[in-house]
Structures are given as structure tokens and as C-alpha cells.
Symmetry: none
Subunit: 131 residues, 10 copies
């Protein structure tokens, strides 16, 4: 099952310019798989994580290999698309307390239906809405 203990962080880099706006980070995984809670068949999709870390000195970033292992921990989980999206959002918000964060999942066709689910946290800038 989803295992948040796999997730690790490191301090967000602190810029020399105190008032520089936060960096924006995007990680796209095309290799996500979980199980349908109704049929037990595997679901395949991609997960996009986009976020701005909290301002220094508290800002942290998720470590990439730990993120991969965390995503792999859904492999045998029976869980709806919507819950996958919401769960990852909540786990990563709890982990990083970012300035803002988006989780966007795209799912390959099931019964002829392709799906996309979006979950957000905080004040997502306009230029990232609906992207």
C-alpha cells in the first residue's frame, strides 16, 4: 500500500536574492500502475507533480528516487483514480508544506474511456491552471 515512509526530502536551495520568487518544480512519471478497486485489473497512467517549495528557511524538496519508490508502492493497491490523485496530493503536502502544489493524473483507456484527474493545494498561479 502507499508507503509515505519511503519519501525523503532535502532543503530547498536558498537563493542569494532574498526576495527571489520561489522555484517551480515539475516531475512527470509515465510509469504509474495501481489496481482497479472494482475489478482488480491493473490501471496504467502518468502522474505529474508540480509545486513551489515553501519560502526559506522551511522549504524542502522531495528527493527523486524516494518519489519513484513511493509511486511504486501503489502497484498492488486497489484504489480509484480520484483517490490516487487526492492521496498523492495529501501525502506530498504533508511531506513538504509547499507554497502550492498540483497533482495531475492521466489514465489510459478503460472500457473506451480516458480519464484525467487534477488536485491542487494552495494558491496555484494563473499560468499553471488547466495545464
Amino acid at each position: 500500500m502507499p508507503d509515505t515512509s519511503l519519501l525523503e526530502t532535502f532543503p530547498a536551495p536558498v537563493g542569494g536574492t532574498p526576495d527571489a520568487p520561489p522555484i517551480v518544480i515539475e516531475h512527470v512519471s509515465d510509469e504509474f500502475t495501481s489496481l482497479c478497486p472494482v475489478t482488480g485489473h491493473p490501471d496504467f497512467g502518468s502522474v505529474t507533480l508540480r509545486y513551489a517549495p515553501a519560502p526559506p528557511p522551511d522549504g524542502v524538496c522531495v528527493e527523486l528516487k524516494s518519489l519513484k519508490l513511493y509511486y511504486q508502492s501503489f502497484r498492488s493497491e486497489g484504489i480509484f483514480y480520484e483517490a490516487v490523485t487526492n492521496t498523492i496530493r495529501d501525502h506530498l503536502v504533508d511531506l513538504m508544506h509547499p507554497a502550492w502544489l498540483q497533482i495531475i493524473t492521466h489514465w489510459k483507456g478503460r472500457g473506451g474511456i480516458r480519464s484525467t484527474v487534477r488536485a491542487e493545494f494552495g494558491d496555484v498561479p494563473d499560468e499553471w491552471r488547466a495545464r
Copy 2:
């Protein structure tokens, strides 16, 4: 005929962050077919459902396989494009009472004419208008 008894829901996931904005869910079916009420010939199209569930604790999501079966129940129905779009909108609003919802249907050419019909419910955010 369109059979709303096929539709099933599950509770929308509740995030650990009480004030998190609602998730946005999109399901695109490229395999919709009904019958023309005038000629009886089959129509072929796609149906896009996009919505945000109601806020917790009342929010629900439509279950994907039940949505597929519901769409299949139009297979032998003689019904105009506009009514297909409006009917699906109403049935899904009745089912989920979402925060907002869009139904967009695209129809392959009939007599050399391609068609698109859009129906909405609630306060659709600007970034989703005309998309």
C-alpha cells in the same frame, strides 16, 4: 433507453487539508453511439464529462464502469444530439450534485455536417470555458 439505474457513485476522496480546492475530474469516451430519431440510422460520437465534486462530506464521484454501462444504454435510443448532451448533463447532476459540470459531445459527420454540443451546470471556472 438511457438507464440511470446503472450509475453508481463512491464518496469523493476527502483530503487531509480541509480547505483544499475540489479535484477536477475528466472522463472522455470515444465510443458513444445512439440512433437518429428522424432516420433511425446510427450516430457516432464522443462524450467528455468534466466536473468538480461537491465539497465534503457530500461529494461523490461517478464510478467509471457504471458510467460506461450507462453510456451503452443509449445504443438503441432514437435521440437528438442536443438531447443526448442535455440528458447526460441532467442525469449526472442528479446523481452527483457536483460543484460544477460540463458535458461536451462531438459527432462524426452526418450529411457532410460535423457537430459539437456543450451543456454546463454550476459555476464553471474560466480556465475550462470553451475547451
Copy 3:
């Protein structure tokens, strides 16, 4: 000549939600032909109709096969591009009294010149301007 008697309507679908916004309907015909009033040679183009029906209980939609036959009635008509566009706009406004309506015609090259003509009625929402 353009024959409005061919046009038929059916009541716009009435949603179960009284305050639902009107549906938006688009029909694109790639097979329009009329005659040049100056040279008598055939012109070829496409016609896009986009509209929102009047609110219930008066709202009506144009029936698709009747629209095709109406377009075909321009086949032997000598008429300028601008008048084609304006005439279709007026005929369909008279027929449906819609909330708003756009007619956009694209014409293949004549003498090395490609043309587009747009006519509107009512309060076209911003997201549909110049599209």
C-alpha cells in the same frame, strides 16, 4: 434559391435544473456550394453555425437533416460570399430566435484569394469571439 421552408426545428431540451445555462451547439458543413453572381462559376466553402437556443419554454433547435437540405438549396443561387453569410444568419435567427448565434463561412481560393466572412447575432460570449 435559398428555401427557408426546408428548415425544421424541435424544442430545445429542457434540463431538470431550471437555472442551468443554455447549451451551445455547433454544426460545421464542409460541403457548401453556390454560384458567383458575377461569373456564374461555382464557389465552394464551409459554413459553421454556432448558437445558444433561447431559454425555455421557447427555445428551439434546427433539425440537422433540414439544415443540410437548406444549405443544398443555395446550389444554383448566384450570390456573394457576404450575402450567403448574412442570409443564413438572418434565416436562422428568424427560425430559432436564439440567445446568440454566429455564422462563419470559409471559401476556397478564387483568383488566388481565400476568404472568410463572419456574421453574428445577439450577445456572443467572449470565449467564442474570433474563433
Copy 4:
């Protein structure tokens, strides 16, 4: 030389709806050629005319074949890109007194440089600026 006597007009179509907004007309010619006033070598380009006629009863439209012949009258004219654009703008404004008008010329490479020139008249709506 540019010969405005070739230009002909016809009355803009008058809609049955008195307060209907003006139609918007666009003619794109991909076959424009004139001569460079410095070297005498031919220039090749395209000319886009976009305009809204004056409101009835004074509104007129330029007739398409006459527009083609007028453009052809630049064939032996030694004239700068900028002057071509401005001259066509002025000639067509004098001819039609439109509500607004745009002339946009694109020129193929000369000495490795591609060029675009825009000229306008009247109150061009926002949705057509820079297009």
C-alpha cells in the same frame, strides 16, 4: 501602376435584424507581386484584407474579382513594402469607408530577410489585433 478605377463595390448585405453587429470579411491573396524600387527586381508576397463594412444604408463591400485585378495592377510598380501596405489601406478606405479595416502583408525573403507590414484604419476590435 496601382489602378483604383479597377475597384468595384456592391452594397453590404442588410440583415433583417436592425441591431445586428456588422459582418467581418477577410480576403487573403497569396499571389501578390510588385517590383523593388531600388533594384527593379520582383518582390513576392501575400496580402490580407480584413474589414467590417460601414453600417447600413451606406455600407459597401469590395467585389472580389475587381480586388484581384487591382492587386494585379501593382505588377509593374516599383514600390516599397511599406508603401504597398499603406497604399492599399488608403485606397480601400477611400473606396468603402468601412467601420474598420486591416491590411497585413507578408513578403518572401530578400537578401535573407522575411518581412511583415501591418496597417489599420478605425477601431479594430481587440480580438483582431496582432492577428
Copy 5:
């Protein structure tokens, strides 16, 4: 069920040149649907028919509207992809006795698997193999 009585033919056009090679005809239908014989769920695909009629005076062509109605007669048939392809091949060979014929069906994803099936009759020229 597949209803060959719907199929109609007309004599292949006879050219004024006795030794002219046969014409080659291709009809592509993007709107084919049948039912899965195992699950009963609808399948969606396209069907390409490519053939050369028999030489005169026996050559016939399938009439297009009758072909459409014949394809529609699979709508409620539970039948495998392979049998759809083979059946259409046999029915059309029986109907037309063509010089050669190809049936190529493409099927949308089922359980994450997209499929293509090809069946042929007679001596298909090299330039049409695997196309």
C-alpha cells in the same frame, strides 16, 4: 445479424477502351460497431474495403448506401474481430466475384489492446500489400 440481402450491386463501368486495366475502388468506414461474443460489450472499429471488379461484362460494384446498411446489420451481432473480417470478405466476394479484394479492420482498445485484422481474396497487386 449480418444481412447480405441488404447488399446491392450495379454494373462496373465499362470503358470505351477495351483493354483498359480495371479500376481500383476503396471504401473506408470509420463507424463500425458489433458486440463482443464473450462479454456482450460493444466493439468499435473501422472497416476498409479495397477491390478491383471483375472484367466486363461480368464486373459489378457494391452500391455504397447498401454497403452502409450491411455494415449496420452487425450492430447487435456477437462476433469476434477475426470473424467480422472474414465474414465481410466472404460476403463481398460472393456478391461481386471481384478480380481481387482486401478487408482491413482496425479496432479500438479493449482491455488496453488495439487490434488489426486483414483478409484478402485473389491476386492482390504488390503495391497494395500491407497497406
Copy 6:
């Protein structure tokens, strides 16, 4: 009805090199329309003519404007796709007695079916087969 009296020819250009191979000429018309002989509804398509004139001194070419008028003479003709293709092939072979000739017609969707028909005359070089 198709009117071959509209067709005009001019002598194929004779090169200064007696043994030069024949020129190859291709005319593509995207604006062909005729009527369905079954339903009376208009059909829309494109016609590609590709040929090599007969060797001098007998070789002739079809004049382009006369070809356009000849194509326009199908406008009110009820005729199958296959017969359009074959008829144009025969008429142009009769007119020009070319070394070889191809007619390829593409037709927009009717009842969800797109069609292509090819007819040939003489010894079409390999590099032009199935193109």
C-alpha cells in the same frame, strides 16, 4: 450532363531534343461535385488527372480552363463515383490519345464512408502506381 464539347486541347510542346522523354502533367481539382444517382443528394470530391501526352507530332494537352468547365458539367449529373472516374478517364483518353493516363477520385464521407477510385489507361510507369 458531362459535356465533352467543352474540352479543348493545344499541341503538346515539342522539345528541341527529338528523343526527349514525354512530359508528365498533373492537374488536381479539389472542387468537384455531382449528384448521387440513388438519393439525388450532392457528392463532393477531388479529381486528380495525371498523364503523358502522345509523342510529337500528334501529342496534345487538355487546356486548363476547358477542363474546369468540363468538370463543372457534372454538377447536376446523377452518377456513381466509379462511373465519374471511368467516364473522365474515357473522355480524356478519347480527347488526347495520351501515352498513359490516370484518374484518381477522392470522395468525402457519405454515411460515414470515405471512398477513393482509380482508373488508368496505357502503360503507367511504376513510379506513379498507387500514388
Copy 7:
């Protein structure tokens, strides 16, 4: 582990034309996953099966849903790409004894390396080599 007991067949369709060439069948699955036998991390790829059944009366086809379930049985298997490809080839040859068969697997990047593996059986026609 790979479970061939999941695989089911049905008789290949028998055409009415005794000497008709065999049909050619292609199934593409974009949702294959197994485990790396060295690291235990998941691998993701696609599997293309292309084959011609044995001639009647012995020819059989693999049933699509059973194929999906068979592919899913690799989900927890630690196995090299090459062995996946070879194993599927052997299992399906054992199951169907086809006239010929190809298995082509594409694998997403691992350590920055993308891979493709091909295995064949029988006399694959030239037009399908290296495709």
C-alpha cells in the same frame, strides 16, 4: 508467474473460398509490466503480437480477454526483456501452432536506455519484416 492456463482459443474463421490466403491478425498491448530480475524494480512496455493462423481445419485464434489476463500474469515476475519476448513467442506458438508469428516488445527507458526485442516463428512474409 506467466500462466498459460489463462490462454483460450477459438477456431479461426473458415472462409467460403477454400483457397483464400490466411488472415493476418495484430494485437498491440500498451500496458505490459513485469519486474527487473536484477533490481526488482518494475519494467513497463508494450507487446505487439502479429500472426497468421494455421490453415483450416486446425487453425485457431487466441481470445483477446484471455490474452490480456495472460499478459497480466507477468506483473509480479522477475524476468529479462529478452525472456519476456521469447517466452510469449513460445507460449503462443504452443497454443496456436500458427502459420507464422511475431512478438515485438518495446520498453520504456531504464537507466536512460530504451529497448526493443523481436522474436519470430515460421515464414514471416517480407512485408512484415522489421515493422
Copy 8:
């Protein structure tokens, strides 16, 4: 009128390797215009010249600026597409006596018809046919 006195040549470069195969040269002009001999209206097109010079010591190449001026000399000439193509072929063969030569002209739409004309001289290698 086409003025061959404008054409200039320079010796084809002589390689240090006596038996080196001839170079292959291609010049594409997108800015060709002449007049229709029937209507007097301008035609617009492109001209592709591809050739191998004669072997040394007689081989010559056409100088590029002189080629441009030669092409410009068609600007006021009433001449058919076919004759343009054949004339340029003959003029350049007379000028250069090349090993082989191709002239390919593409013409923008006239009356809805786009045209291509090809003329050749000598033994054009297979890899350049129909390109």
C-alpha cells in the same frame, strides 16, 4: 519574352579524381510568374531545376543570378504551364548540354485546379524519378 541571352555559364568544377561521378545540382525557385495565354491573368508557381553537368572538360553550370534573371524574363509572357516547363528544359539543355536534367513546375490553383508538370532530358538516375 523568355530571353536566353541572359543565361550565363561557368565551367563545372573539375575534380582531382578523374573518374569521380558527376555532381548533382538542384535549384528551386519559389517565385516564378508568367501570364495565362488564354485569359492574360498572371500565373504563379515554382520551378525546380535538377541536373548533372556534362563530364569534363566540356561540363558547364548555369550561373545562379543569370538563372534568376532568365526566369524573370517570363514575367510578361503569355504561355501555358506545359510550354514553360518544356521551354526551360530545352533552353537549359541547349545552354549546358548536361549529362541529364529535370524541370519540375508546381502551379498554384487556377479555377480550383493545382498543377504539376515534369520534363526531363537524358538518362535520369532511378533515385531521382518522380521526386
Copy 9:
């Protein structure tokens, strides 16, 4: 320096069908870097390995992770593109003694020059030449 001790193999899978043709394996690494032996600056490129293992019982495959580590061992090596390609070819031929093998390297621009180098071993089938 390139360290062949990093490379590991495993036995090529042995099919149940003794006369089955060998599998064909392709690994594409987009993340190769070495140093320019002249300037010391880093070069970036991709390496494609394509091969068929030796027939059983001697056939082996290179293990993917070991291949990645082997490629990484070029990171501090000053070496020409041509030598990289040749060296990898020789090392992998020595390692696997395959039926045939290709190494294709693509290199990003250095001083405005992009490069590709190909090296082969054994009898590469025609369908893989120049690909």
C-alpha cells in the same frame, strides 16, 4: 576508461521451437558522454546497440544495468567519436560473439557540426541497413 569488466551477460532465452530464428534486440541510450581528446570538453550523444545473439547453446545477451555502467565508464575518457563507436562494437562482439551487431552513435553539435557514426559486425540483414 572504458571498463569491460563491468559488462555481464546472461544466456539468451532458448525457445521451445528449435529452428526458430534468433531474436533481435535493440538498446538505445540517450545519455552517453565522453571527452573530446583534442579540447577536453565533454561530448554528448546517443548509442544504439542492435544485435542478434549467437544460436543456442552459446548465445548470450548483455545485461542492461551492466551495459549502463559500461557506458558510464566512458565519462572521463578522451576519445574520438569514431573510436567510441568502434570500441563499443569490439567490446560487445568480444563479450557476446553475436550472430550480427550494429553500433550507431549520434552526437550533438560541436562547433556547429552534428555527427553520426556506424559500425557493424557479421551479416546484418538488409532490413536493418542504414536504419
Copy 10:
């Protein structure tokens, strides 16, 4: 002027397999400039060098940085496209005595004319002709 003293070579890598076929090397420079010998204006183009070195022990490769400097030595040279191509061919053949070699130059538009020139040496394999 073109300065061959800038060119340097290094021994072609010698494979451990004595009968291995020669490697094939391709260098594409997008940044070539010389001067028009008629007008003195700069020409811009790309140069593709493709070759197989002579067999060992005599085979050499051109060093990349020296090739860049050699190309740069054309910057102030007034020279025709054809001579650029031929000259580079001869210089590099003299330098390397390769098994075979191709030089392909593409030139940006001059006076509306784009050009390509190809020169070869030795027995170029079929798969590289006209590429």
C-alpha cells in the same frame, strides 16, 4: 581561401575483428558561409560529409575541430556553390583516400532560389544514394 593545411587526421579505429566492415561516418555542419563570386554577398548553407575510411592499416578519419576550421577558411572566399561542393570533396578525398565519400550542400535562398549540390567519390552503397 580554403586552407587544407588546417585539416588533420587520426588513424581510423582498427577493430578486433579483422573482417569487420568499415564504419560509416557523417558530419553535418549547419553553419557554412562563403561569398558569392558574382556579387560578393555572403552565402549561407549546410555541408554534409559522409564517408567510410579506407581499410586498415591505411584508413584515417578527419579530426572534427580541424574540419570546422577548414570550413571556416571559406568565409572570405568568392566561390560558386558547385565549386564549394567539389572542392571540399576533392580536398577530403586527397586527405583521407576513403573507401567512398559524399558531400551534400544545401544553400539558403538567393534571389528566391534555394539550391542543393551533391558530389561523390568511390562506390557509394545503394542505401546512401539520394539521401
